[in-house]
Amino acid sequence: MTMATLERRAVLGLAGALAAGVTLAPGMTLLAAPAERTEASAGRRWAMLIDTTQCAANCTACTTACRKENNVPLFGEPSRDIHWIRKVEIRDKDQRRPTVSLPVLCNHCENPPCVHVCPTEASFIRKDGIVLVDEHRCIGCRYCIIACPYKARSLVYHETKRGAESNPDVPIRSKGVVEKCTFCVHRLDNGQEPACVEACKGEGKGAMLFGDLNDPRSEIAKRVHTVATKTMRPDLGLKPRIYYQGL
């Protein structure tokens, strides 16, 4: 049974790799250029590699870009503010290791506990491995928020309004649903990279790398296999898809 699934996966992975279209950066491919019809491919496994040595402590390019792209509002209440991606500083108590600054976002786990606990199946894994919330179904029970060990999810406590500078391509969320990072799924389906990665390449120092882990020719697959990387809380067995380098 396991062998059969593995084989199926390998075949699907190969198919996904073959289907890969536009090359964004050397060795990195995304979906083909905007087509009339797109569909999530089961052969892909979107993942991100964050090089913490390149992530500057005072840089907030990724978080700002995310807020702008996904219409993530700031209410000025620390306990109720919504974060899809946030900057975290890791200090060694004994000061033997240098302080590291890194962004934390939804890890799009292979075994996501948030999906497991969702009573309405609003949280789900898309075929290409992205963990999403179907806000049309979400009843705002917040089990997923409790289940997520990465604090990646937020409940919308307040009414939000569309502003003049809001992104028309992304819907805002109504009060009482849970929202989180979507890996900029609307951009991925359009053949683009997530907004944070793009911003990190532009204004930041290029610490973020995004791509398809199942595509052996992709830059991320090569880097993850050659460089020492860590995931957060691997002991939980959730198999996160955000890899950190230099942690």
């Binding site: 009339e36 999403l132 049309h136 391509d169």
Partner: protein, 121 residues
Amino acid sequence: MLRLSSLVRFVLTILPIVAGLLWVNPVDLWAHDGQGGHAGALRLELPEGKECVKSAEWMRRNHMDFLKHNRDQAVREGIRVKTDSLKNCTTCHTSREKFCDRCHTYTGVAPNCFECHHYPK
């Protein structure tokens, strides 16, 4: 004597109620035949394009299921068909207020799509 006063009281209480019923109700009823409220036939702004993705007849009855089906497919399977998207509606039906909202108000339905999704006014 007693009987007369109770009759007067009865008439005095009933009269305003009857008058009220006679006065208020017809006005309320007239509102539905063109005097107020719906104000006659429903007038929608005609789309700019020539042809819809499905026939107008079919769309009139089924657009809600069509949009809902596409919505679920887009969110959960990532199936995005450009021509069938809500965004594509806006190319012909340029005004939500003069098309979608007018009919929704007329028929008394309140879909909450546009609480979150953007549609040009």
